[in-house]
Symmetry: C2
Subunit: 389 residues, 2 copies
């Protein structure tokens, strides 16, 4: 797949991580792109989140570049705001752009002062290295405890010509759906106005990144940015762009769940028959966040009692006697009671790297939701009991 036109990328090791591994990245649009973003709803917000918000307001939704670092969240530090601004200013100078058109994003440890000097010093080299082929290198540079990089590519064919879209995300831990989750950047060469971009991104995130959980913790740095620079010269119907974007974000969301910290399985939860889509999402989220459900799946145990118990804790009203549950397509619970199934056979099916759970409430209601999560294994504990050391 060809990348969207008019973007260049670069990544380098600026010394923010202790290990020598790229930790600073630039995504640059040749011209100011229409830009929209959704951010963490955590009450504690990192300096780059606050500054990106401010820059989007000041620029009227236009951006030339995303400046991203891993290894330090630039959150809850004395110098955070100053550091974020200083880095953006240096990038703006190098790129001959207004500072308000630089959107910063950070990921990493909270509460440790970040050294702006390292980033400022690395920027000239980074800008010099910009190329239209370093997309994957940037996707790797933003990883923290991710084991694989996450990218997605799509195209929309119109009568006017082709529009391309490419996205990347980092995931792994502190993943819980509240507006945006983790860092994710999507670039497209479609011609769209900033005003059209934001509602479209919000809706697409709602059914994808907001339907994703690894461990129920929403980070202080969650940022999802969409850039549309119009370099293709092709206008796309907003509905078509939204559809493609939602598919791309869904793909990234699944990659994040599959690579959740310590995860051995991607779990897809479908809830149907709730009183509303919102109620269905609450039920799905309660199931997705239950450590007892997640450990049962890790152990390939078709323990549907934990599923119905978790749903019962969602705060959503339902009659257990109307509940049917399927795991891997096998009916395990019928009308709230154990169905007749081969536990041995299902245990075998649960050893596969993907697990599907279908929770249906019988009746006339049609509310439904799909949600992604991963299992909970000893690997999660190993990673998180020693993240900083």
């Amino acid at each position: 797949m060809t990348l969207p036109l008019g973007y260049r990328y670069a990544a380098a090791w600026a010394g923010i991580r202790k290990v020598e591994k790229d930790d600073l990245a630039l995504i640059v649009s040749d011209t100011p792109a229409a830009a929209a973003a959704v951010f963490t709803q955590n009450r504690v917000q990192a300096a780059p989140v606050r500054l990106s918000r401010q820059h989007l307001r000041e620029s009227g939704g236009r951006a030339r570049a995303l400046l991203v670092n891993a290894g330090n969240a630039n959150c809850a530090t004395r110098t955070g705001d100053r550091v974020a601004l200083q880095c953006c200013r240096a990038a703006a100078r190098q790129l001959n752009a207004p500072v308000s058109q630089i959107l910063p994003a950070s990921t990493g440890v909270i509460g440790v002062e970040m050294d702006a000097g390292k980033i400022v010093a690395a920027l000239p080299h980074l800008v010099a290295a910009l190329s239209d082929s370093a997309f994957d290198q940037v996707a790797r540079a933003i990883m923290t405890t991710d084991t694989v990089s996450k990218t997605v590519h799509a195209a929309i064919r119109t009568r006017q010509g082709l529009v391309r879209l490419a996205g990347m995300a980092k995931g792994a831990g502190m993943i819980h759906p509240l507006m945006a989750t983790t860092l994710a950047f999507v670039v497209t060469d479609a011609l769209v106005s900033p005003a059209a971009l934001r509602p479209l991104l919000k809706r697409a995130a709602e059914n994808t990144f907001n339907r994703l959980s690894v461990d129920g913790d929403t980070s202080t740095n969650d940022t999802l940015v969409l850039l549309a620079n119009g370099a293709s010269g092709v206008h796309v119907a907003a509905a078509d762009l939204e559809k493609t974007l939602e598919a791309a974000l869904g793909d990234l969301a699944r990659q994040i769940a599959r690579d959740g910290e310590g995860a051995s399985k991607l779990i897809t939860i479908d809830v149907a028959g709730a009183s509303s889509d919102r109620a269905a999402a609450r039920l799905a989220r309660a199931i997705a966040n239950s450590p007892l459900v997640k450990t049962a799946i890790a152990g390939a145990d078709p323990n549907w009692g934990r599923l119905i118990c978790a749903a019962g804790n969602s705060g959503v009203a339902f009659d257990p006697a109307n509940v049917d549950i399927e795991m891997q397509g096998v009916r395990v619970c019928r009308g709230g009671l154990a169905a007749d199934f081969s536990e041995e056979e299902l245990t075998g099916k649960l050893r596969q790297p993907e697990c599907s759970i279908r929770f249906t409430i019988r009746g006339k209601d049609r509310g439904k939701a799909r949600f992604w999560t991963c299992d909970l294994t000893e690997g999660y504990i190993r990673i998180n009991a020693s993240y900083r050391t």
Copy 2:
């Protein structure tokens, strides 16, 4: 400590557990005792929970006996209601009591039919074995994944004489505060009316069992019963009984947290300076339920960034710049920023079996709450990825 007067206890193996270990227990008051209970708020409620509620209504808050089994939750099964009633009827016959004065409680796996025959068959032997000294044996019989039994003893000295109180609880997993948590039974020989008992129990549970979390899952079987049979002949002021009861329940709650599945540490979280006690409890709960906080404590890592991040996800409004955090009495965060402390020294202190966290919001507000939880270790995963096998 002497046990409350007028109660007898028995436990036996009825064959509900696969392993030969007591799984059926009776707590009998010689005379009908004033009885009050709080139950799980899970939408899915086990048959014994529903029947105990009904019996308390029918009896006007009087009970002769608690009939408890471990190894099967009698929840989400075809025959659950019939089984629970059948067992209570058999106990009522053996004890010459109205069936409405028998309160059943069950704990164990969900969704597996329970064999009433085994319990009915074991009852004559159990009743014959009733003795005033088998309290500890009953506390052991109700254990599931608990590693130690949990009991508490207290006395109230009045001018009229002595009143005794004794309690037991099972804990370990599916522990999350909603009304009551897990199974817990408290008996006292105080003279109290059923009408006075219930509000007093609700309030005492609110600050103890409802401030406790192991893994954020509320079970389908949570039951906390208080019996007061008046055998001491001594009237106690309701306020005095409540104070003693709250201390006893707090003691049991701490024992449960300390013995949470896989736990290596008891964590006590104090929040102060919130806009209300309710807001403080929400903040404390968010910190207690964060897997990233719990794994950091497991790893003796003074990672306060995860604490403030978890608080930021509570839904409670606060300004991070007003937050001070202490761990083990050491200030780690001052005004939302890293405080100056020796990480090495604090890491050493975090290796102790108890961990205290103090989260304070500066200002004029006085809302506070105390909350108990445990750390999250690989042991939790090991236990729960193979609970049924």
